[in-house]
């Protein structure tokens, strides 16, 4: 009957906000998807705990079966200091040498440890050794050794590719078409340079000689200096640079300025939209009470306490009030007289009518429903 809102209704508001809401939803969805994809990538490549195709958990399990513990280290100092034995049997796997600062690599290269570097570029390689130089790239395909280095001979045909390297034949051995090189670090430790991550991944470890090559490269079962511990150097993205470079350092200098200006603009938008054209008009509203509300409330109360007796009394009283005036037996007749008159008029046996009109209260809801229907039938018959 009345409306209070002068502004747009909820429905109109919904329609008006639909486009911005959909847009905001899409942006949120895209953010979440990109975030998921990135976290997948972070967890993934060459991670000794990752079980996805590009991870390396399989290799770690193989190593641990050979009684070689794998320790995951995050930075060069951690990789260099302290160990089981000072020079014997410690292996440092540098998973992404190009992301590690050159000084850090140099400090690793100056130890007598065995160092395994995966696809280092020229700068990273020169920090580790003078023997090996990058020469180009090659596709990842099945390759045969083509050299006399023990790991290569042991492994046979493997999946390799990626970066290729060259070395002087006196100082290092170049296998698999330059994608696997075996030399020495500045510190005199053995150095293995692998052109691609392919043979170390979960996806390919089981194929061809990949597992044998990986294990041999990491010094498992090496006759000279058997590996006793593998330090898996896996840099986190935040530690890539020399210092703790934050987002602000990477962004161009004008971005914060633009952000501040956008903030000011947003504030002005709020001022523009927030200023009402006059105050809200208030109005006392009439109460809305339905006349049948008390009746409905009473029906719910009857139902909650299962007041079959009271309900049956009310139904019987209603039937009597409609039927008795039609059978013509006075204003306040006795029950027996009513039963006799109604039974005669409705053509039903007296005991049945007596039970219906004055019988005991129904025992449950089902009996009450049946009683109501029976009373209806009696009423129809009597008022015919």
């Amino acid at each position: 009957m009345t409306g209070t809102a002068t502004g747009p209704s909820a429905r109109q508001l919904g329609l008006r906000l639909r486009a911005p809401l959909v847009l905001a939803g899409l942006v949120l969805l895209a953010t979440v998807l990109i975030g998921l994809a990135q976290s997948q990538q972070l967890r993934g490549e060459l991670d000794p705990d990752a079980t996805d195709p590009s991870g390396s958990r399989a290799l770690r399990v193989l190593l641990e079966q050979q009684q070689i513990p794998v320790r995951r280290v995050a930075g060069a100092p951690e990789a260099r200091v302290g160990g089981v034995a000072e020079d014997a049997g410690t292996v440092v796997l540098v998973a992404f040498p190009n992301r590690i600062p050159t000084e850090a690599l140099r400090s690793i290269g100056s130890t007598p440890y065995r160092v395994v570097a995966v696809a280092p570029d020229a700068a990273a390689l020169s920090a580790l050794t003078d023997d090996v130089r990058p020469s180009g790239s090659a596709p990842v395909v099945a390759r045969s050794p083509g050299c006399a280095a023990p790991p290569a001979v042991l492994a046979g045909e493997v999946d390799l590719g990626g970066r290729t390297y060259q070395a002087h034949p006196d100082t290092a051995e170049v296998c698999y078409g330059g994608t696997f090189t075996y030399g020495r670090t500045h510190g005199g430790g053995p150095l293995v340079v692998i052109g691609s991550v392919a043979p170390l991944t979960n996806e390919r470890l089981g194929q061809r000689g990949n597992a044998a090559l990986a294990l041999a490269a990491l010094g498992a079962g090496d006759t000279d200096k058997p590996a006793v511990e593998v330090r898996w150097l896996l840099t986190q993205p935040g530690q890539a640079g020399a210092g703790q470079a934050g987002l602000l350092d990477v962004l161009p200098g004008w971005v914060p300025l633009a952000a501040v200006q956008l903030l000011v603009g947003g504030f002005l938008v709020a001022l523009w939209r927030g200023r009402r054209l006059g105050p809200v008009v208030a109005e006392p509203l009439p109460v809305v009470v339905r006349a049948a509300e008390t009746v409905e409330g009473r029906s719910r109360l009857y139902r909650r306490v299962r007041a079959t007796g009271r309900a049956a009394d009310a139904l019987r009283a209603g039937t009597l009030a409609r039927v008795v005036p039609r059978v013509g037996i006075g204003v306040a007749p006795r029950p027996e007289a009513v039963v006799a008159a109604v039974a005669r008029r409705a053509g039903q046996p007296e005991p049945v009518v007596a039970t219906l009109l004055y019988g005991p209260p129904p025992v449950d809801d089902a009996a009450l429903v049946r009683l109501a229907d029976a009373l209806d039938g009696l009423e129809r018959a009597a008022l015919r």
Binding site: T6, V269, R303
Partner: protein, 428 residues
Amino acid sequence: MALTGRTALVALLGALLAPLGPGWLAGLTGLLAAGVLVDLALAGRIADLRLARSGATTTRLGETVTVTLLVGNAGRRRARGVLRDAWVPSAGASPRVHRLDVPAGQRRRLACTLTPTRRGDRTAARVTVRLSGPLGLACRQRRHAVPWSVRVLPPFTSRKFLPEKLARLRALDGAVTVTRRGQGTEFDSLREYVMGDDVRSIDWRATARRGEVVVRTWRPERDRRLVCVLDTGRTSAARVGDTPRLDAALDACLLLSAVAARAGDRVDLLAADDVVRARVTGLTRAEVLPRLVDAMAALEPTLIESDPGLIVSEVLRQERKRCLVVWFTALDAAPVEFGLLPALGPLTARHTVLVASVGDPAVSALATGRGDAAGVYGAAAAERALADRRRVTATLRRRGVLVVDEPADVFASRVTDAYLGLKAAGRL
């Protein structure tokens, strides 16, 4: 003051200047601030606007009227912007916001259509004016008080019954003279006796003079008194269908008054709960409907228990001569048994009393519920309510009170029928 979207847009686009350096941004902000100040200085003066209203002051519920707002610009600058003519929500005002463009020294007329959704006085709230500057960056904003009120009268939907009731009235009046005599009937004429005439109406003296049997005929009673009593207490707030009981009572009261005024009876009105809300007495025949409708427009149900004792004493004080009291109330058991019945004695002793109550079809519908436990319990509760109503009605009738208890759609018609029946029977 108020800013515009243009200001915000300029500030947002200013972010594109960020690569050029902070100096540019500072310059832009300074320019924007200067523009806002210029706009505020050059916008039209709102205090110079002269606002006045004209147009409708009354309407019926459900109809649409127009109220005009005259905007005169007494200042030296052009006034350009928007104007919101705010009314209470139930006035149904449209449009919400007017565009305003008044050159200096000129006037403009803004039409606002009202389609009220509630009875009573619907008032205008303040008029808010927002005048923008030449650059469109900032606006001045201020409010003007231009009071106006539109009285929304009851819809009188039972008008549709009026022709039929008036036809019945004509049948009673003149065209068919009655042979029965009651209070207020006037001697009309003598005519020859025909079979079926009441033997008590034979005029023996005239019969002796003429030598044939002659009966006296009477015109139905005129100049009787009728008092419509409206109970505006809590029971009148309950809604039957979508309308409060009070509105149904008002409708019936209007039909009854219209018919009674045509029949030559005098109609008074009393609306009360625990104080008297409206009182209309001493109406001439022509002004019955306008005055009643006007008095009814502002009546609203109140949420307090009404005081039948007060109503009875007011009616007794107001009406010295015998009259028909049509009391519009609700036949709820408790208020009637503990309030109405004990107070009714003095009223029935002097006047004829008719209690009219709007029945609720929802209760009757609930009483037919069958099939499952919920339906049958609902039916039982409804039967209980109907039994209470029957008991109250029977008690009232034993006290000599006439009772009309009908659903809302035919309520007005049945109340008027009861009045016409009393009139035909000469019992007024």
